[in-house]
């Protein structure tokens, strides 16, 4: 009887569109189907076969590539018989040495710490979803992924590296090091993994596990 007086059914498949706040009752999606808002065309969710397993695999490999990007030379640079080498961390440390703490902090957070936290949280959450019961702190960690992911600028650092590579190559011989290639693969895996991540689908899985 309650349904007659209430406009909106209180079921979990009813959501509010993130673009225009329209109430939508989502049908059960098949694999490969997408749902978008009838009023503002905002893409609401996409269900893909095995998306969460793929994200887990990509996150783990991305994190391994990130670790390998740290110790080895990032760029070699030789001029008049002298060789200069910088590692990924040097680009941050040298900013500190030049008293540009703000840029150093920005680089450290957006290209290293935030992607690393996001990857570790994603791995934890996805492992937790494969258990029978959710591991502790699953919800806050997943929430932090969605909060931090907007501040990830790792791929921008990669483009900036390529730009400075071309800028210097007219002055001296520059070679890309092992760390650089590892960083490239880190970004490929990161971007591929994040493109599969869907808010609605992953939180729905969390909700199902909570019961």
């Amino acid at each position: 009887m309650n349904n007659l007086t209430q406009d909106v059914p209180e079921s979990d498949s009813t959501i509010a569109c993130h673009g225009c706040d329209l109430l939508i009752s989502l049908p059960e999606l098949d694999y490969g189907q997408t749902a978008s808002c009838p009023r503002c065309n905002h893409l609401i969710t996409r269900r893909l076969l095995g998306a969460h397993n793929k994200i887990l695999a990509l996150s783990i490999s991305s994190f391994i590539f990130l670790i390998f990007a740290l110790p080895f030379p990032f760029l070699y640079f030789s001029n008049q018989g002298k060789d200069y080498v910088i590692s990924f961390a040097d680009s941050i440390f040298n900013m500190v040495l030049m008293d540009y703490f703000s840029i150093a902090i920005l680089l450290f957070f957006t290209t290293l710490l935030i992607p690393a936290i996001c990857l570790l949280s994603l791995i934890y959450v996805l492992v937790s979803l494969q258990q029978k019961r959710l591991l502790p702190y699953t919800q806050p960690l997943l929430q932090s992924v969605f909060f931090l992911i907007d501040w990830n600028m790792a791929e921008i650092f990669l483009v900036a590296t390529l730009i400075s590579f071309i800028k210097i190559s007219s002055l001296a011989t520059v070679t890309l090091g092992l760390s650089f290639w590892s960083y490239v693969f880190f970004i490929i895996c990161l971007v591929a993994g994040l493109s599969l991540l869907d808010r609605y689908q992953i939180w729905r899985k969390v909700k199902i596990h909570e019961r």
């Binding site: 009813t14 993130h18 706040d21 329209l22 919800q139 969605f146 909060f147 900036a160 808010r199």
Partner: protein, 210 residues
């Protein structure tokens, strides 16, 4: 086409969590799925966006007029601004990079500030005929905003790589800090703008009529 404010979650005293999309009752202080604190849609969102936009415009002035990079070449020091950097890349013929830097550090920030001002304006004057295009504009603004940082990062990489004493060395300038601040404030402005306000317009009108 469904275009009735009565179908809005806000009108039904419900609120969709922005993190997990769960529909919550407006009286709930926290989302029932992800336990996030819920902030309801309010018109303060526009004020925050405008305040952050003004900050970014102010930061954009020193970012363009102060040097972003000092180059020390055989004892001679030259300072270059953002626009000067684009010109110095254009002249030797490295057009693609000049275009990338020009788009990322001049076109995108200006376009972003204009787009967000337009969106704030169209919400305040309750303009309703181009809401779908406006939403697309908002999404594009949100997506490309980060890419302006490319120039700051390139300066940081060049400065840490080229340190050969008097032969050649590169140092960052204060414009890099101002520009980074500008990018961050425009990103915050885009995040604080709530596109749902474009469809909530009618709700306020409706309540005023009562």
């Amino acid at each position: 086409m469904k275009d009735n404010h009565r179908d809005n979650a806000e009108h039904n005293h419900q609120y969709g969590c922005p993190v997990c999309l769960t529909l919550n009752d407006m009286s709930n202080p926290k989302c029932r799925t992800c336990h996030r604190h819920l902030h309801l849609i309010n018109s303060n969102s526009i004020q925050h966006t405008i305040a952050l936009l003004i900050t970014s415009v102010l930061l954009y002035i020193p970012a363009n007029f102060l040097p972003i990079m000092y180059t020390n070449w055989l004892g001679q020091e030259t300072a270059s601004t953002i626009l000067g950097g684009v010109v110095s890349l254009w002249e030797p013929g490295t057009y693609p990079i000049a275009v990338v830097i020009f788009v990322a550090s001049i076109l995108v920030p200006i376009g972003k500030i204009l787009a967000l001002s337009w969106l704030c304006l169209s919400v305040t004057v309750k303009k309703t005929d181009s809401r779908r295009i406006n939403l697309k504009l908002y999404k594009i603004t949100e997506l490309i905003g980060r890419w302006s940082m490319v120039d700051v990062f390139a300066v940081a990489i060049l400065a840490s790589l080229i340190q050969m004493g008097k032969v050649m060395s590169v140092y960052p300038g204060m414009a890099a800090v101002a520009f980074a601040g500008m990018v961050i404030t425009t990103m915050l402005a885009a995040m604080s703008f709530d596109p749902r306000l474009m469809w909530a317009n009618q709700v306020h009108q409706f309540e005023n009529e009562k």
